[in-house]
């Protein structure tokens, strides 16, 4: 397998963008990424597009062809990749393989979701499709509901508290104040989270990531070509993926995502490093409990200690391992299909030293952790700054 690098990234503003279409979101992110890569566009040989529920949300399927069309990249092959909320991360991984295999030298990975045109009930139903339709959703399960079932067990088994979960949301809102692309720029306190409206006990509305419109794009190149093309690349040193049962009730434990643990272990092996070597990480905090489980599954903290570590500020910008510097899904926003690519965008900026007020000093290794559904898919990437 050949080595692969990211040579350009871009994203649209994330938020409730009622005046911007699915197509326009992709164009905004794509133009930024291609400019950032110092390419014309004609060098690009293939495209992988991630979206989860565009058909349900805006009636548009065939999104990869739409992205290629909107970005003026026809007639290159364009393939849609779907893995629920991990669709973006999977699109990136497929672009990585397309180059690593030797088939292409320059490939684009894009992700997009246009969510705010749907009502809340429509969006809840569409997102629910990531779970098990027959054995969970038919019985009235929702996504916050499934994560609430995990949160309840984490509280019982490890003494995790609602305050610890709230600390993750407050931290991510703080980080987002430094990110001009983020959906929310308002700081919130732990108290605000605890007092917010209940959605699925013990989760409250401020424990949940929002419904968001947005797109993100990354341009990948084989490492040898990238080195000749630019000094501003970052190397992809690991790409790993794992799966688990679709339904929560079939899992051995509700307090961890086995797919995340397996993917993380494989990723560290590929990169030849340990969790202690990671300087900054973007993790899939679709709910606050998900961030706590993620930092345990990724090996940053021992099992059951993620909540206390979050409350103690160990994952803050100036903490031992800064988590979700972008604001995460919680505050930067969660346009489902775009999220996995947005994580790559943020880590690329961090490793290049372009993360403005939220820059982590001398970051060398950055990790992304993108989860589909309640953990039936997980994809982990590790990026490295060139020496």
């Amino acid at each position: 397998m050949r080595k692969v690098a990211v040579v350009g990234v871009g994203m649209s503003k994330f938020g409730e963008l009622w005046d911007v279409s699915l197509r326009d979101l992709v164009v905004q992110a794509g133009v930024e990424a291609i400019k950032d890569a110092h390419l014309e566009g004609s060098e690009i040989q293939a495209l992988y597009g991630g979206t989860m529920a565009s058909g349900r949300l805006v009636g548009q399927e065939h999104v990869a062809a739409l992205i290629a069309d909107a970005m003026g990249l026809n007639p290159i092959p364009a393939t849609r990749v779907e893995g629920a909320c991990a669709s973006g991360g999977l699109a990136f991984r497929n672009a990585y393989f397309a180059i690593a295999s030797g088939a292409y030298n320059v490939v684009v990975a894009g992700g997009v979701e246009k969510m705010t045109d749907a009502t809340t009930a429509e969006a809840v139903t569409a997102l629910g499709g990531a779970g098990d339709q027959e054995w969970e959703l038919l019985h009235g399960a929702t996504f916050p509901g499934l994560y609430a079932l995990m949160a309840r067990r984490h509280m019982i088994e490890y003494g995790t508290t609602e305050e610890m979960m709230a600390a993750a949301a407050a931290k991510n809102h703080h980080n987002a104040t430094f990110n001009k692309y983020a959906q929310f720029k308002e700081k919130i306190t732990i108290e605000d989270v605890l007092k917010s409206k209940k959605v699925a006990d013990p989760l409250k509305v401020l424990d949940c990531s929002p419904i968001t419109d947005g797109a993100a794009v990354a341009v990948l190149m084989d490492l040898e070509t990238a080195k000749k093309h630019t000094d501003n690349y970052v190397e992809i040193v690991a790409s790993a993926q794992a799966s688990d049962t679709l339904a929560l009730h079939d899992r051995k434990s509700l307090t961890e995502l086995r797919a995340a643990q397996v993917a993380a272990k494989e990723a560290y092996k590929q990169a030849g490093i340990t969790p202690e070597d990671i300087d900054v990480a973007e993790v899939h905090d679709c709910f606050t409990i998900a961030e706590i489980m993620a930092i345990e599954d990724l090996g940053f903290f021992p099992k059951g200690k993620g909540g206390q570590a979050t409350l103690d500020g160990e994952t803050a910008l100036n903490g031992r391992i800064p988590i979700n510097t972008s604001g995460g899904l919680k505050a930067c926003g969660h346009p489902v299909g775009a999220t996995g690519i947005k994580q790559i965008v943020e880590i690329t900026w961090q490793l290049r030293g372009q993360a403005e007020g939220r820059q982590v000093k001398d970051a060398q290794y950055g990790l992304t952790h993108n989860v589909g559904g309640s953990g039936a898919t997980c994809v982990v990437h590790i990026l490295k700054k060139p020496n």
Binding site: T120, A121, E122, V124, T125, G128, E134, W135, E136, L137, L138, H139, G140, A141, T142, P144, G145, A148, L149, M150, R152, R153, I156, K197, K198, V199, A200, D201, P202, L203, A247, L248, H249, D250, L254
Partner: protein
């Protein structure tokens, strides 16, 4: 409003009677049914099994923001039930004050309406759980 109910649903016996399977080689119970025992593979001998319907609440939540067709029921309790045979299943807990539900609480299966998608549409039935009356 759905135009018709897929035949498969009517034939899914597990939805109405908690019929699953048991591997007679290793004693593991499966609901929904699995035709191959994940532990024994080819050595497994899988046969139909009707669960007693009794179990304990393993984890639960109170759904307050519902998906389409379920808005009428909020707030409702969604739980993972550990059936007394050892298998786990997701379902609602009814006939209970949502604020008083507890982990470990003993429940039994009841046959209930799951939802209707329209006043003149199809009604979907299935299992729910309720506290065991002592």
């Amino acid at each position: 409003m759905k135009p018709g109910l897929p035949l498969l649903w009517r034939k899914t016996r597990e939805r109405y009677n908690l019929i699953g399977t048991k591997c007679e080689t290793c004693g593991t119970y499966y609901i929904p049914e699995r035709k191959i025992c994940a532990k024994c593979r080819r050595k497994g001998k899988v046969a139909p099994y009707t669960f007693s319907g009794r179990g304990k609440i393993y984890s639960y939540t109170v759904i307050r923001v519902a998906p389409e067709d379920y808005e009428f029921f909020v707030p409702y309790v969604l739980a993972i039930i550990q059936l007394e045979e050892g298998a786990y299943i997701t379902g609602q807990v009814v006939d209970v004050n949502p604020e008083s539900v507890q982990i470990g609480q003993e429940v039994e299966m009841v046959f209930r309406k799951i939802h209707d998608d329209h006043p003149e549409g199809l009604i979907t039935y299935g299992y729910k759980f309720r506290p065991i009356l002592k």
